[in-house]
């Protein structure tokens, strides 16, 4: 599966988990209200109406159900809240088991029925909780903060360029063009039909280099690539060129994944990307648009260094550059 397909599948699963979590939330709400509003009816149906302890326990369980409901209905983090239901189920099953041991006749029959129902619900809760936890692991590319411990960092960005898809594709496919708009790249050199050699600036003024190969492409539509060999930071990317509804423009959709190693290298990489790596990719695509639509990266007196302007602030004042300033930035 391509990374995009993985993401799409993960997001479908996330939706399913959210939906099921909400359903369980409503169930908790109904149960909690019933246990608080009509505790005696609940006790009779459950076959524990003979026990004075149950008079105190049933409303308490009702309060607990309302807590589950509040969590499940208001939070996006369904996983944790479904796990609280699983814990609740275990408590209920324990109480029911204890009650069963001391009863016979019609009360026992009612207790067996209720215990069966709770067992069924427990299975459903457990299933949902496990899925919610898994969907989270697959679905969310950990942000850079998480990446300090190592892991995959996934960046997406999109822009619309007022040029036909064939032209935008051709510009990108000529990989040597990438450094004109991608801030961190110094050079990309084709080494074969599908293979290339990349170099990028890295923290502490060092350079990292790696080889890459195109693993999938469709002229005018899509290019997918990944690093090969022993890259310091294994990475992959997919770019799609989709005709925009206006009939003249192209939507450029980019997905980059970096397999950030743990330890000091990972830390340095995370620091290099900064707190807002998405912002950087957005800016890269803004420059791609400038280059394709206007011919080059636009410069101002406040931000004269084109793609080398890594941080937007503080800028130099909006005042013409001196000859020496200009000479300093000439290689930018």
């Amino acid at each position: 599966m391509t990374q995009l397909a993985v993401r799409e599948a993960a997001s479908v699963r996330q939706e399913e988990v959210q939906r099921r979590g909400r359903g369980l939330g409503w169930m908790s709400l109904g149960l909690g209200v019933a246990q608080l509003a009509a505790p005696d009816t609940v006790r009779r149906i459950s076959g524990v109406d003979d026990s004075p302890t149950s008079r105190a326990v049933v409303p308490l369980v009702g309060v607990r159900e309302l807590v589950h409901a509040a969590g499940l209905l208001t939070s996006r983090r369904k996983g944790i809240w479904v796990w609280t239901r699983v814990v609740g189920d275990a408590m209920d099953l324990t109480s029911l088991g204890m009650a069963l041991a001391h009863r016979g006749g019609p009360r026992r029959r009612r207790l067996v029925g209720v215990t069966g129902a709770v067992l069924g619900i427990t299975v459903l809760d457990l299933l949902t909780a496990v899925q919610a936890t898994r969907a989270k692991q697959i679905g969310s590319g950990p942000a850079v903060r998480g990446a300090r411990r190592g892991g995959a960092m996934e960046l997406t960005a999109t822009t619309t360029v007022r040029k036909p898809a064939s032209e935008v594709y051709a510009f990108w496919r000529d990989l040597g063009n990438l450094p004109t708009f991608m801030a961190h790249l110094q050079e990309v050199r084709a080494t074969g039909g599908r293979t290339s050699h990349w170099s990028a600036s890295a923290p502490f003024g060092t350079n990292v280099e790696w080889d890459a190969e195109i693993i999938d492409e469709a002229a005018g539509e899509k290019i997918a690539w990944r690093s090969t060999g022993n890259a310091d930071v294994p990475n992959a990317g997919t770019v799609r060129f989709v005709p925009a509804p206006d009939g003249v423009s192209t939507e450029v959709q980019v997905l980059l994944t970096y397999d950030i190693p743990g330890g000091p290298v990972g830390k340095a990489v995370a620091k290099y990307f900064g707190e807002e790596p998405h912002q950087q990719l957005d800016d890269d695509l803004r420059r791609l648009k400038q280059v394709l639509e206007t011919g080059e990266v636009v410069r101002s007196d406040g931000a004269p260094w084109g793609k080398r302007a890594r941080k937007e602030f503080p800028q130099r004042p909006a005042q013409p550059l001196s000859a020496s300033d200009l000479a300093k930035g000439a290689d930018a």
Partner: protein, 391 residues
């Protein structure tokens, strides 16, 4: 060269700065012959536009002679020696916004688009001398200026019209005109204009040439209202009468059909209490605007009318009369002026004598006296309406 720069809140300073140089292939360098102080420069000086830095060259209304062009400017578009008026929004001419003639929303001309996007949701075009939010471009209150996308923006002046006749094509004349243009003016329309500053005056002139039946000017400065009266417009002094009542009297109880807010974020209010309320919230940054003119325009406009906003707003405002706006079917239209769209037709109107832009000029000063110019303009001393600076 000498240039007027931002030096902190309420402070401008004319200083020596390096001469501008070509940075992009489609740049031109213009030797400035006339430039002006704009009402929106006051928002910079008063500290209501974020991302200003000490030393920023300000000014976005200028014209002059092309002295250098970059390699990417085709000779049939612009040559050394051409006399040009430069529009204040910088526009590439090639993106989706430019293709739709929404030049002030150009998607490529702002190198700081990321900042503008955070503030406004989507980026806006670069503007000369108007904060780093709009690109950090050095402005035109200077002896020279670098003009990006010189093959798209600058308007060549080939007739013998004076600088004073064409200078305001750079901003305030098209801005006032767009205010009226957004109103879809019909021959039966009464058009009320809040603000009788230079942009308001040109909005009134534009409403007239677009065929409005009656034009009403609203302000508090008697000399500005007199200027409107001399041009043939009805006037309301909001410090003397209740604006809404007076507008009802003047329109048979209907309210003006079209309303233009040519004031923006630093309005004053006839009632000291209301003014104090918004001034206080603005001072502690609970809102960035004092939107009295806009509120009054919405409440006054006839049902189904259009409220057009060309006064500058920068952030967030309180007590927006959404009930009046929604229930009375009002249309709200606005935008920083798409100057490039209006320059040529307006030049023709000036040539035909339909609009005389020179009528708003009250002061002409050398560039080195920019500080004094700002002072008298901001404090409305000496009946100041518009200051032209000569580098």
């Amino acid at each position: 060269m000498r240039a007027n720069t931002w030096a902190g809140r309420n402070k401008v300073k004319v200083r020596d700065v390096p001469d501008p140089k070509i940075l992009n292939k489609r740049d031109a360098i213009v030797r400035i012959t006339s430039t002006a102080i704009c009402g929106s420069d006051l928002h910079l000086i008063d500290g209501y536009v974020p991302t200003m830095q000490d030393g920023d060259v300000i000014g976005h209304e200028f014209m002059g002679e092309v002295i250098e062009v970059g390699a990417g400017v085709p000779a049939d578009k612009l040559r050394v020696g051409d006399r040009v008026v430069v529009p204040f929004p910088i526009a590439c001419g090639a993106c989706g916004a430019c293709a739709a003639e929404l030049y002030s929303c150009c998607e490529n001309s702002n190198p700081n688009a990321g900042i503008a996007e955070k503030m406004f949701g989507h980026p806006v075009a670069g503007i000369f001398g108007y904060s780093h939010l709009t690109g950090g471009f050095a402005g035109g209150q200077a002896q020279y200026a670098r003009v990006p996308f010189a093959d798209v923006g600058p308007l060549k002046i080939e007739s013998d019209l004076t600088d004073e006749q064409v200078l305001f094509l750079s901003d305030i004349l098209p801005t006032g005109y767009m205010g009226a243009d957004l109103c879809d003016i019909q021959p039966t329309d009464v058009v009320a204009v809040w603000g009788a500053g230079p942009v308001g005056q040109f909005a009134m002139d534009s409403a007239r040439v677009l065929g409005a039946a009656k034009v009403i000017a609203i302000d508090k400065e008697p000399y500005r209202l007199q200027m409107a009266e001399r041009a043939g417009y009805t006037t309301i002094n909001f410090e003397e009468v209740d604006v809404r009542s007076r507008l009802l009297e003047l329109t048979g109880g209907r309210g003006p059909d079209k309303c233009i807010d040519a004031v923006g974020q630093e309005a004053t209010h006839g009632s000291a209490h209301v003014h104090a309320y918004d001034r206080a919230k603005q001072a502690v940054r609970l809102e960035t605007e004092r939107p009295h003119a806009l509120r009054q325009a919405i409440l006054s406009c006839r049902s189904g009318g259009i409220v057009s906003v060309i006064g500058v707003y920068g952030g967030f405002l309180d007590k927006f009369p959404s009930g009046a706006w929604m229930n009375r079917a009002l249309t709200l239209r606005t935008g920083q002026c798409h100057v490039q769209r209006y320059m040529k037709p307006l030049l023709q109107r000036i040539e035909r004598g339909e609009i005389d832009p020179t009528r708003v000029i009250t002061h002409t000063l050398p560039l080195d006296e920019a500080e004094r110019g700002f002072d008298i303009f901001k404090n409305k001393q000496d009946h100041c309406e518009k200051v032209v600076l000569k580098p």
